[in-house]
Symmetry: C2
Subunit: 653 residues, 2 copies
């Protein structure tokens, strides 16, 4: 027998969205409505009333919204989360005895059923019950009104009864005191509600030690302000720093990832921990904690945020090695195992054993490391290689941190197989790196961006599109010219609401380490000289992209990407609109960097909120003054690599 | 922190099949393999080993089968359930330390890594651990062998070590004693395993009171044996009786559902309960419990089963009304509410209040009613209108009965909206009535049969196809000729592995009650005269259909239906094959009862297990001697209503 005090009365199932049977939360942004669908039905002919209920995790108070039937027992409801944080929600549904009674009573009256008086008594009982509930809830007036209706119902002639009964006022009153004693409640589902930057952000990555662009001088946090202003000037709002912690000395890597460092080599910031400390400390060459906090404050004044890298790598010099050797893998000779991918050895890194006997303290410590930086003011973390640590650990870490600080965001740097990338999003990563970096053709871009933004993934995975990273100079950028750099930046910045680039991109730095996808003279291992105003840069173009993004609300949204047909295989056409179509952006981009292309584009006018034969104006936001009157679905564009190679149209009627 | 003694190490998710996130069981037949798919992956580069585990509900002993990776972290496994009953199953997966170590060790040896000795010691430790586990499990020999390998590993030269290590024998030994201390186990899923008749059955419904076909004599169970033999002769294996309980007297319905019965009117068997008893009793006019048990025995001798109707309707004379008035709905005047669909009133039926205060005793009593008949030997129940009773009640009833008697089968007679029909299958109904009765065109039949047998429904819903029932004489059979009756029987018997018909169908009884989908002079309310050998009957055709079904194993399967293209809109073509293609049936049926039709059919040869340009023989099992040599996908058929209107080909190479 069901153990509940009453048996389930209503079937509530087949929720959409529903990730892994409800095991994982959906993600929303504060201020963004959340609409769900669910099948609700029961035996017999009772009218069902249902509410969507939601409350902040750990709080008592429920919010409620009505659930309305669509067709075929499918219902829908929308809830508005009032704060960022973790929420639970569920459906409560019940047989609405009053509505059901009222419906059949009206038929009885119409049919002059001799049972009308006794059925009126039944209705009076329902009204009196509601009156009692109202009184219990302290609503004396409502209680009296309901009680009066009950009396009327037993004294008025049938047709006048109906008038009372069918009044909207009475139904509203009854809806405030429904009989939910036999209601059914669905198992709880969960949502993570985040601040807008979780969805809409433009990231600029630079190494603070190269902030001045001087190959012979290690820059310090106090030297970074001009770089923040520079990033702000290009329109970025998140500046991301590789790890800022003390860098290991033992087995430090030299330039270009060579095995032996020279005395003046600065080492890779991802080999964390040295004599001056570990993950809670700052590399002395960068400055002090006070300097860092000062820089955080300067960023805030500029309306920007600094994102830190959370990289769980320990160099052999890391304090953990001495204090907690049991957190690492022991070899039979008592030494600690370094990272390997045989036959390759990475003696500068000791991997953590997340499943060691002391795992609870280990996990707690790593979570406390994040909380330490949060307390200093860091609210965004880019997490290095999360796919090489247990998924359960990330779920624990993100949940713990966000329960205390729901404003904290996490970007997963997992370039790995699809299922792992997905599950990291499911367990809580706010944003994730993507395969965009390697998607080149129209077919590849269309398929991938559709999968990310239109399929189930859109409920839990926010793809942050990067054309480059310090680790990746993709083939198409190697030795490429500014046109390709502009193209890839434009695709990243317009297809996703969140994108980023690693410094040097604006100078079209394009020299690969021979035979690899890596940069030559990678900044990971050395200071890099840069003239931040070098000629030939594409800073103005990037500034323009970020301005267009900022000024157009449609670009702030993630799951509103729609593709349109273009006859030419090198021309890709897509749009982003706000739900009310008050802002509509149409991008038409040539992927061909060598030859002029021209094509008819066939627009999905409905996706643009336009009627079948509409006339509308398209204004190119990249090329001031270029504005055209278009009509209907089919229109013609001509693009050329050495001129107008893309249109970012605003569509207006 | 996760509360388990160790943190989850492996991600196991995205099961297929998986009904409502695992809330509902999948259905299988004893002897039928069950193959599932699931994503399994973890952080890092460890090799994963996984097993599928299953055990009978309530038992301790697990069965296990290997799980093997396919691609993209998708794994698959097959389990064979050993008995009918309710099972739970799950996946257990772990980082396979020995396999992972072995793989990198082989690379080290190849690369002449100076660390080989220390890594050999690591391997020896893994072997000794396994040796310890083997010893703990009482496997002294295995333990000694493993321990010996550990010694060899530390003494042999590297290349000879490898020989020992890479032996299949050692891996098998290690696989018997793996280190599962850090394994991850998925939440349990469930399966209902049933006997073959759950999937493959042919039902014949008749009213035992009309067994002799005499309008003036109420037949008794003792008169029913000839009817069983008659049904057996036509090839049916389940005989289904409308309710056999005492019929109510108060407000008894007369012929053609009239409101007032004549003294000699026998009443509807669905108005259950009278002075002589209720749901545990037998209508005296049919005989005694002893007579019924005798008939069950006779059916068994014929290789048949008798299915009873479980109809939770109480007439005003039902003993429950006196003994448990609180199980019904009370009206304000103290009277009990009869069934209504205002303005229609059904005074002969009192609906049960499944959510009354005493609901636990009520539910228990109704379950006990079923168990009472099970104890007498009834193993199949056709459940009347389950959609007008709580879904939770059926889940409780079927689960309780099947836990004690897993051989008991339930057919849901729910002709209602799709979601309710589906959920009744999900909560345990073995078979379900379908919309087949109203699907007429090629498009309708194709779409519906595909949804039932090829989509998610095939895991929980077994459609029993009925061309008619005592309640339904569908439009296309009203005043129709034998050709239409043959057509609808053939479609039902060949599209689904389980079908049924209500007696009279074999005589093409076709007279509707004017303006309704009901039979005129419905047997529900009166005795019906029938000459069981009346000329013009289609008994021989039905016998042929059931024989072809029985003789061809492909027809015993439910989810193997595949449609093929036919150019002509009135010709429908589909096949059923056994998984090994040892038996292949190809049905080509004209839906046009008026004109000859001819068409090219384009077969999906792969679905028939045939190569692209194969030559094969098709032999018509309905028309002895008709056998053709066909080649390739496209072939020509000509059908005519007054001659060969359908082919049921056996395909052979």
């Amino acid at each position: 027998m069901p153990s509940s005090p009453h048996a389930p009365t209503v079937v509530i199932e087949n929720f959409y969205p529903c990730i892994e049977g409800g095991r994982h939360p959906v993600k929303r942004i504060l201020g963004e409505d959340f609409t769900l669908w669910v099948d609700i039905f029961k035996d017999g002919h009772d009218i069902i009333t249902a509410v969507l209920k939601w409350r902040m995790d750990g709080q008592q108070r429920w919010f409620e919204a009505p659930v309305t039937p669509t067709e075929n027992d499918r219902w829908t409801a929308t809830c508005a989360f009032a704060e960022i944080g973790r929420w639970e929600y569920c459906i409560e549904a019940w047989a609405d005895t009053f509505r059901s009674w009222k419906k059949t009573f009206a038929i009885r009256v119409g049919a002059e059923d001799p049972d009308v008086p006794i059925e009126a008594a039944e209705g009076a009982r329902l009204l009196l019950d509601a009156s009692t509930r109202a009184r219990a809830g302290g609503a004396t007036d409502a209680s009296a009104q309901l009680s009066e209706c009950a009396t009327l119902l037993q004294t008025l002639p049938p047709n006048e009864m109906l008038e009372v009964l069918l009044s909207e006022e009475l139904q509203k009153l009854m809806d405030r005191y429904p009989d939910r004693s036999q209601s059914t409640v669905s198992p709880p589902l969960h949502a993570i509600v985040e601040r807008e930057r979780a969805r809409f952000s433009a990231w600029y990555e630079f190494f603070p030690r190269s902030a001045e662009g001087l190959v012979n001088k290690h820059s310090r946090f106090r030297d970074c302000l001009p770089r923040l202003q520079y990033a702000q000037d290009m329109g970025f709002d998140v500046v991301y720093f590789p790890p800022i912690h003390p860098i290991g000395i033992a087995h430090r890597k030299g330039k270009n990832n060579t095995l032996t460092a020279q005395p003046d080599d600065v080492g890779s910031p991802w080999a964390i921990g040295g004599p001056t400390g570990g993950h809670r400390d700052i590399e002395p060459a960068l400055g002090t904690e006070e300097d860092f906090v000062w820089l955080l404050g300067e960023a805030q004044k500029l309306g920007m945020e600094i994102a830190l890298d959370f990289a769980i790598n320990c160099s052999p010099d890391h304090p953990y090695v001495k204090d907690h050797p049991d957190w690492f893998y022991q070899r039979p000779d008592g030494s600690i195992r370094y990272a390997e991918n045989p036959p390759k050895k990475y003696q500068d890194i000791y991997p953590i054993n997340f499943h060691c006997a002391d795992w609870k303290n280990l996990w707690r410590e790593l979570i406390d490391v994040v909380l330490h930086w949060v307390d200093l003011g860091v609210k965004i973390f880019r997490v290095d290689n999360p796919h090489t640590k247990p998924v359960a650990f990330w779920e624990e870490l993100i949940t713990t941190v966000q329960r205390q600080h729901p404003e904290v965001l996490f970007l997963a740097e997992a370039f790995t197989k699809p299922r792992m990338m997905q599950v990291l999003g499911k367990v809580g990563f706010t944003q994730s790196y993507t395969y965009f970096t390697w998607r080149e053709t129209k077919a590849e871009l269309t398929e991938y961006a559709t999968e990310l933004t239109q399929g189930e993934m859109r409920w839990y995975y926010r793809g942050n599109f990067w054309p480059n990273t310090p680790d990746i100079l993709p083939g198409h950028l190697q030795n490429a010219g500014p046109q390709m750099f502009r193209l890839r930046a434009a695709l990243a910045a317009t297809m996703s609401s969140t994108w980023g680039m690693y410094s040097g991109y604006e100078f079209c730095e394009n020299e690969p380490y021979p035979g690899k996808e890596e940069y030559n003279h990678s900044e990971k291992y050395q200071l890099v000289a840069r003239d931040w105003n070098a000629p030939g840069n594409i800073k103005a173009f990037i500034r323009q992209l970020n301005r267009i993004r900022r000024e157009n609300p449609a670009m702030h949204l993630y799951d509103n990407l729609r593709f349109h047909h273009a006859d030419h295989g090198d021309i890709i056409c897509y749009s982003k609109c706000t739900p009310d179509f008050s802002n509509r952006i149409l991008c038409i981009v040539s992927l061909n960097g060598h030859e002029p292309t021209a094509s008819t584009v066939r627009l999905d006018l409905a996706a643009l909120g336009l009627g079948p034969d509409s006339t509308y104006r398209v204004t190119d936001l990249l090329h001031p003054g270029a504005s055209y009157e278009w009509r209907g679905a089919e229109n013609y564009v001509a693009l050329r690599p050495d001129g107008v190679s893309m249109h970012l149209f605003r569509v207006e009627t």
